[in-house]
Symmetry: C2
Subunit: 280 residues, 2 copies
Amino acid sequence: MKLAVIGVGLIGGSFALALRKAKAVSHVVGVGRGEQNLKLARERGIIDAIERDPAAAAKNADLVLVATPVAQFASVFASLKNGNALITDGGSTKRDVIAAARKALGSGIARFVPAHPIAGAEKSGAAAASADLFQNRRVVLTPLKENSPEAIGKVTSAWKACGARLSEMPADEHDAVLAAVSHLPHLLAFALVHEVAGRKNSEQLFSFAAGGFRDFTRIASSHPEMWRDICAANKDRLLEELSRFSGKLDQVKALLDKPADLEKLFAEAREARDRWIRSS
Amino acid sequence: MKLAVIGVGLIGGSFALALRKAKAVSHVVGVGRGEQNLKLARERGIIDAIERDPAAAAKNADLVLVATPVAQFASVFASLKNGNALITDGGSTKRDVIAAARKALGSGIARFVPAHPIAGAEKSGAAAASADLFQNRRVVLTPLKENSPEAIGKVTSAWKACGARLSEMPADEHDAVLAAVSHLPHLLAFALVHEVAGRKNSEQLFSFAAGGFRDFTRIASSHPEMWRDICAANKDRLLEELSRFSGKLDQVKALLDKPADLEKLFAEAREARDRWIRSS
């Protein structure tokens, strides 16, 4: 299989490395904006060749992975309009990606099988790519009614070859689920760090922050551009989650006067989390 | 040195183990509510003897560590009223602990040098205690005007023997700092997990939660009773932090319509966090 990776970052680079490791790919072409990142990707054996333009990269490819920040998807899909290669992506949001693909690919939309590998990390770029990133991680496909079973099957196989656990759901369900368990926590972590960093005594505050703060805010070291795009793309769902969360904070605030009820809420949260950790 | 530990949990148990490892203590008496936990503490070599009552445990001790949940401090201090042993504590809040100590110890207050070891973990009990828990961790002393330099010196030495980095600040400053970088994040983590756990589709939501969610919510596996007490004790500061954080969330919400500004906020947060991580 010949692969083209548009955006050779953490996701794109790891996809190429994982397929190489599984011996599922014979040749990889990489496209990207950063010269140095592409050179590093070639040095690391992630890609064999560099192309400037997605269309040229896709020309002889069997499969194209689009893994740029989501805001660039529209122009990438436009470049891929005239081709035959199967396309999948690594976008963290799906409704906007599908809309962009429909607009750009037109009747070629059947070639695109949308995917979201749930395997982020606060690191980014080809330097952070790893053949094992998707090992035992979930990849959600949100297939289109135009996709043939063969197309879905081939994309499924590629992600499975990366070691991922596959599932399928409609795009709007995907975006709602991820808003709750990924996008909102990222927003909260960014907000908390920004709040602390903006204080007069921020240096003192950080110096007394410990392991709890470090883990809570780990995702605030995530890629700002990527998260800007996710927030813009999933704004409606995110606003819903923000509003639910504000409601929960009001509930917690009210319980500061009812210690027994507050303890009950804490205990329920701990139990739910521990149950999840045990089962995952 | 003879030590009495009131509350042989993560903090109390680790204090005893660390002082043993440093050969700074010859005999440790433990007091606690849980029969099984105390037996385990004796089996693990954390304590040499078990006493029912803090007064009895403190009778022959040179130093007493009070490390129960903060809500029990008042009654523990009352038991320690008639004695000569130096007292320190492991409470996460300081204004309320000092007020309780003043009330109970009266003119004996000079014997109490308040301390907060910033070394939590989501695990609790003697089973989780470790001789290395305080290694390179901060311990904040909030000395009282009644404390003699000798008393402060002795308590400082004990915590230093545990491997901790010592600092001093007034109790109200301590409570304000910790509200921002510890108490608020805990509340947010408990709230988020409780929110997700209460949804109809909570099972689905948890099943698509990944590493970011796991780290963000790690502190929601903390001890519910301990956190109930911290929230009650530091309620005014916590309400201030909640209100500031709500303001920051409103700012972020407004920026969902201004992608460039949102990205700037994310980038500033990432930079501040990365700077902190590098320096710590």
